[in-house]
Amino acid sequence: MKKSLTKVTMLVLMLFVLGIVAGCGGNAGDGGGDAADIPIGINCELSGGVASYGTNAYSGAELAVEQINAAGGVLGKQLRIVKRDNKSLAEEAASVSASMVEEGIVAQVGPLVSSNVQACTPILMESQIPLIAPAATATNVTVNKNDKTFDYIFRVCFIDPFQGTLMARFAKDDLNAKTAVIYKDTSSDYAKGLAEYFKKTFEADGGTILTEEGFVKDDRDFKATLTKIKTKNPDFIYVPGYYQEVAPLLKQARELGITIPIGGGDGWDSPDMLKVAGPAALNNSFFTNHYSSQDKDPKIVSFVDTFKAKYNKEPDAFAALGYDSVQILVQAIKDAGEADPVKIKDALANIKDFEGITGKMTIDEQHNPVKAGVILEYKDGNQVMNTRIQP
């Protein structure tokens, strides 16, 4: 009995050692390619809960890499994508990051969701590889809790407070709203952040917030609160939240005869809005977003056309942000003069007036881009660009 057990242990040990040796061999082979091309890691949510964010951002990034390689690459070298799926899970995001660092990537693009980016932060900080987050909008992605900037973490999207500010200005200036009600998703930090800055700006500009109401994730019945809001008779209702709750909320608001403009943030951006609420209920509603695929800017038109030709779908904001992440990285590699992670980091921190699809960006000292946002309006079921607001 004892003997056979030892045998089994030996066998397992041998297999284990073999595995390690084989693994080493593989890594050495990958690492050997450093002279020929520039490996960039793309760590996206390709499956799981928010798969649509990751899939679209990956398509955008892939398109950018293809275009750059077709034009001769960067500094005479071709870009090589190292693609990994983090399954929309934070722990998975961290572990695929670690494996890509092993493979010798010079920078990582993604993940999309703020919490997944935060899971990767320690690994990239330690191995001194820059990370570009396409769409992580939470304030504490690029700074730690003492407000100190993470040297290697960057992003190309605007942050939550900006969206609230933007919508407040739009409501005040373009919709001539004097009074507003906030009806926010109290179970989400994102929505609370938007609401806070909406309130600050709206009140600072002389508007009045009549009342603040709240709902929580998975709520489906909003009629009681909406009936109450209706009696307050505001000029505008601000509803920061995600489309799952906002769509039925808008529908019920219109059913109760609330016809005033309603606004929200980029969490509204989903085809489900139209399917659930219907085109009529969405009329006279507005939301802030990173870009609009209907923008008539020639750069955007050409991006939209190429993207459509390749993937046969409309590029959403995530696709545009994925594209911009790769483009800004390439700009940084050019500025740095070589594909060295530490030098790329320094170059990224100094990016000024970079012309992206989602607008002109300058990276500030907290590694956030200073850029414009757009207001989209629903008109008979279509998202129409209403206006672009500079920061």
């Binding site: 709520d219 109450k228 659930v276």
Partner: protein, 293 residues
């Protein structure tokens, strides 16, 4: 005043849904003293069956509802046979934990098979119309939900009070052993109870699908919990109590959102549960002895 009446209308349609789900809780509890935590998820399955019969088979809403009720009745009987019957003579906590297990099983099997994303109930199945009654806005959906819930409850009352099966259910709930001695098949009666309770939940599921337009695999959790509170409020195990409890919960929630603050709505709902358990654990309709189904 107008606003108040509008809030009552909002509350009645929400309450009708709670009441239908609460009935299933209370019937099962009355007969085998089990809180069937999988009940909210049976409602979810009902909503999905309704969704697929509308979107794939193209049936109208009545056929879809009937189809969902039959499927869930069978599902309820199967769950009882597989999960609860072997535990009938073990401790109550064992059955309770099994019920939680069944609930998770239903939720995550649905996620595995159909994906976690929400699905949109086709709106053309039930075109929306809104009527203005003396300044109050009432939609045909609200009328549909309220009326069909009341009809289903009347049918249920008829079955329990006037039929042989109902008599058997009442007998089993009073004393199982004595019921066996009287020649009542306890297994069969319990199966029927599960079938009826699950069918009512399925009807509620289809109504939720129509009313809120979307369904998802975890949609049963919150309504299930609220309906559970409603059942306890009315007196768990007592059928009229569940109906009244359901409507009370619905109206209470709307009034809290409407006149207090929407932020405290759920706190009030579950606060009611705590208060009832402290002050009158048998519920509004509860007596110390008496008939239970």
């Amino acid at each position: 005043m107008l606003e108040f009446l509008q809030q009552i209308i909002n509350g009645l349609s929400l309450g009708a849904i709670y009441a239908l789900i609460a009935l299933g809780y209370t019937m099962v509890y009355g007969i085998i003293n089990l809180i069937n935590f999988a009940h909210g998820d049976i409602m979810m399955i009902g909503a999905y069956v309704g969704f697929f019969s509308v979107s794939i088979l193209g049936s109208n809403i009545w056929v879809a509802m009937l189809f969902a009720m039959i499927t869930c009745a069978v599902l309820g009987v199967v769950i009882e046979k597989i999960a609860y019957r072997p535990l009938r003579n073990s401790t109550r906590i064992a059955a309770l934990i099994t019920a939680i297990g069944v609930s998770l099983f239903l939720e995550y099997t649905t996620i595995f098979l159909l994906g976690p994303n929400q699905r949109v109930f086709p709106s053309e199945v039930f075109p929306m119309e809104t009527y203005n009654v003396m300044g109050m806005l009432v939609s045909n959906k609200e009328i549909f939900i309220f009326v069909s819930a009341v009809i289903l409850m009347l049918i249920l009352q008829y079955i329990i009070k006037k039929t042989k099966t109902g008599k058997a259910m009442r007998a089993v709930s009073v004393d199982q052993e004595a019921a066996v001695l009287m020649g009542i098949s306890v297994d069969r009666t319990i199966s029927i109870t599960f079938a009826i309770g699950s069918a009512l939940a399925a009807a509620a599921g289809v109504m939720v699908g129509i009313y809120y337009n979307t369904i998802n695999p975890l949609m049963g959790i919150i309504p299930g919990l609220k309906a559970f509170v409603a059942a306890v409020l009315g007196g768990i195990g007592i059928v009229p109590g569940a109906m009244v409890g359901g409507f009370l919960m619905g109206i209470l929630e709307t009034l809290v959102s409407g006149y207090g603050s929407s932020l405290y709505r759920d706190a009030v709902a579950f606060g009611v549960l705590i208060l009832i358990l402290i002050i009158k654990p048998t519920g509004l309709f509860g007596k110390n002895t008496g008939e239970k189904v």
